[in-house]
């Protein structure tokens, strides 16, 4: 009899907890893998594919599945450090096979030479090139991520990658370069 009571009670409890768990599994279902989202948020979103994946999101997916974190040249060491923090692994130097860290650039189309083939438009991962067939194309500089993907397809080689020039608004102080030094110290 005691045995039966115990079984009954345990069984009832199991049913209740099972119901709660089942309910919460539906109610609090997580749509996507939050880790992938977190990794994706750290990547620079240039969508350049230098990591070997077709965009930042796929690479984020790959990292979540255990791929190396040092395959992103546009992000450079800063991104690797952040990824290492997130993944709980040691930061490594950038993998040279995937490219080197470079200054930020944007694409520039020499418009006089453009033949209007639309090949670069198809290559651009962020739709930053406007133009139509047999019409001149041009780059929306504010949207360009500098991914380099439009350069290779161009049959007349009229796309240059131009380094972004700093303006007084975007300029960053450099320490110890003597530029714009503040006097501060006054000895009299």
């Amino acid at each position: 009899m005691t045995l039966l009571t115990a079984l009954l009670i345990i069984g009832t409890l199991a049913l209740i907890f099972g119901a709660i768990l089942g309910y919460s599994a539906i109610k609090f279902k997580v749509e996507a893998d939050p880790l992938v989202e977190q990794i994706d948020a750290l990547l620079p979103q240039t969508q350049c594919g230098q990591c070997g994946y077709p965009g930042c999101k796929p690479y984020a997916q790959a990292i979540a599945n255990g791929d190396e974190i040092n395959k992103c040249p546009p992000g450079g060491d800063a991104t690797i450090k952040k990824l290492a923090d997130l993944m709980g692994v040691e930061p490594k130097p950038l993998d040279g096979n995937h490219g080197v860290e470079d200054v930020k650039k944007v694409a520039y189309i020499r418009e006089a030479e453009c033949i209007g083939c639309t090949k670069c438009i198809q290559a651009c991962p962020v739709d930053a090139i406007i133009g139509a067939s047999k019409q001149m194309h041009t780059v929306i500089i504010d949207e360009c991520t500098g991914c380099d993907l439009c350069v290779a397809p161009c049959p007349v080689d009229c796309i240059d990658m131009v380094p972004v020039k700093p303006t007084p608004q975007t300029w960053q102080w450099e320490l110890g370069k003597g530029v714009g030094d503040i006097p501060i110290k006054q000895v009299l």
Binding site: K57, V126, L175, G180, D181, I182, P183, I184, K185, V187
Partner: protein, 534 residues
């Protein structure tokens, strides 16, 4: 939300009348050096042979250029225009011909070239005045604000915030505070303008009084400028609504938040504005410019600039046209190159200024001083030594921050931690670096960290946008692909249907062709090719 900190103007003024002042924590007492330049009247100088007028001289957005090369412009004529409320125009500082519209080294620590209008004066100085608003009390506030904007007036104390935006507060103004403190060593431009033009400053204050309707007006002057104080007292003798206060000399008591704390005893929240506690503050030079714009119809085309330092034979204050290259001002003050090892001109004072990249850099609306020190005066910073944790910087910080912690974290690029120590609240006054026995250029580190943080935020915003565009594109491509596949499927179905409709005709044909091929193959096997066939 901050209303409980709102100051009570009557109470504040009553306290001031009893001689009660408050103090802010920290601050330093560097040698004043004001007497170098403040003994002679403001000099009206000859026009320079060429003016470089940058089209953006304020915080906000730049206007569109509305003149062309070769055009003749009158003094005070607008060179840019915009309907953006964050934009104020720049004006021709004198009459002359537009020679070029190009990039020119900027009055910025970086010296990065900025879009600049080059003007060659014709020597006539022919004004184009705006209609006078002499009877401004009968004019709507919005008209006056529009005038202040169109005259290109920005805060002349240092930050360059557009004055018309500041003068349109959405909250009640308890105290209008006029800042004549000028606490930074060497600089005496506000001192001279108060001594010589107290009347016009008073007129500017009256206009502001009409616009923002404050309960009380307080003018604060540091006690090392007794003549300026007397001049203002004389000008405001018959006005009971204005309280003139002398505040003790200490750097940086002229900082907006510091001065409010001295006068009212209340602190402005570090992420808030003075208006959150009912204060509004203007520099005395700004008041002068407002009176010029409203009563005389003159746009902001000149400002007082202190030329000082031991390398100048005749240090003085001058009325400099905006856009005057600093080389011209150095000539006027008789710059002696032999007193410097390398040519070094500091724009601004010794605490907060920066070194100009070359001497074609123009005077802009926020340039209050050119400091040209000789070789002993402001020696170059030697290599910094290690922080010895003495804590002097924390004692000196007027914002109540922990400069040491900010320094560690800024140097290590741990920006989130630096921000947790309220890096944003740093006013970059340089008091910490001034007292540092290890000669660490602390403010350098903070400025670097601040610009880095701004840069990271900008990058983040950009990458967010790129992600969105990438994902939208992916979705579009996918939709296109599906549409195409659907089309192909429908076409295939249609083909199949027509085939079915034609009955077994097609199938028969295929079967017949197969049969023919089979027969051919069988025949070939039965009669294998022999040598005789050749």
């Amino acid at each position: 939300m901050v209303n409980k900190y709102m100051i009570d103007a009557e109470h504040v003024v009553a306290q001031l009348n009893q001689g009660r002042l408050f103090d802010f924590s920290g601050g330093v007492h560097p040698p004043q050096q004001k007497s170098l330049s403040n003994t002679t009247p403001i000099n009206t100088i000859q026009e320079p042979p060429v003016l470089y007028i940058p089209i953006k001289q304020h915080i906000g957005t730049q206007g569109n250029i509305c003149v062309v090369v070769g055009q003749h412009v009158a003094k005070g004529e607008a060179l840019t225009q915009s309907s953006n409320p964050f934009s104020v125009p720049v004006h021709a500082s004198t009459s002359g011909i537009i020679k070029a519209i190009t990039q020119h080294p900027s009055a910025h620590p970086s010296g990065i070239p900025e879009m600049t209008i080059t003007l060659e004066p014709d020597g006539q100085a022919q004004w184009q005045l705006m209609p006078l608003l002499t009877d401004y009390t009968k004019v709507e506030q919005v008209v006056l604000l529009e005038r202040i904007c169109q005259a290109g007036i920005t805060g002349l104390g240092g930050a360059g915030f557009p004055t018309h935006l500041k003068s349109n507060p959405q909250k009640p103004v308890e105290c209008l505070i006029i800042n004549g403190v000028e606490c930074e060593p060497y600089i005496s431009s506000d001192d001279r303008i108060m001594r010589e033009h107290a009347w016009q400053i008073k007129q500017g204050i009256d206009i502001l009084r009409h616009i923002v309707k404050p309960k009380q007006i307080i003018i604060a002057v540091e006690d090392n400028k007794p003549q300026a104080l007397d001049a203002l007292k004389t000008a405001c003798l018959e006005d009971n609504g204005i309280t003139i206060t002398s505040v003790p000399t200490k750097y940086p008591s002229g900082g907006e938040k510091q001065l409010i704390q001295i006068l009212t005893g209340e602190e402005v929240p570090h992420d808030g504005l003075p208006i959150d506690i009912g204060c509004l503050m203007y520099n005395v030079g700004t008041c002068f410019a407002i009176a010029d714009a409203v009563l005389h119809g003159k746009a902001l085309v000149q400002r007082v600039v202190t030329l000082t330092g031991q390398a100048l034979a005749q240090p003085q204050n001058v009325w400099a046209l905006l856009g005057t290259p600093i080389s011209h001002l150095l000539d006027i003050a008789h710059y002696d190159p032999s007193k410097q090892l390398v040519k070094k001109v500091i724009m601004g004072g010794p605490m907060m200024g920066f070194t100009a990249v070359n001497d074609t850099v123009p005077v802009v609306k926020i340039t209050n001083c050119l400091l040209v020190p000789d070789k002993q005066e402001l020696p170059d910073i030697e290599d910094e030594r290690a922080c010895i944790r003495c804590g002097l910087c924390a004692e000196a910080c007027p914002a109540g921050l922990l400069p040491q912690q900010l320094f560690w974290h800024s140097k290590a690029k741990e920006y989130d931690k630096a921000q947790a120590y309220n890096l944003d609240a740093c006013i970059e006054c340089g008091a910490c670096a001034y007292v540092c026995p290890s000669e660490i250029p602390l403010v350098h580190y903070y400025r670097k960290a601040k610009t880095d943080i701004k840069h990271i935020a900008l990058e983040k915003e950009k990458s967010e946008k790129a992600r969105e565009r990438f994902e939208t594109r992916q979705a579009r491509l996918l939709a296109d692909k599906q549409a195409r596949e659907e089309k192909h499927r429908l076409a295939a179905e249609a083909r199949k249907k027509t085939m079915d409709n034609k009955g077994n005709d097609a199938k028969d044909k295929i079967a017949a062709a197969l049969a023919r091929a089979k027969a051919k193959r069988a025949a070939a096997q039965n009669n294998p090719p022999t040598d005789s066939d050749k």
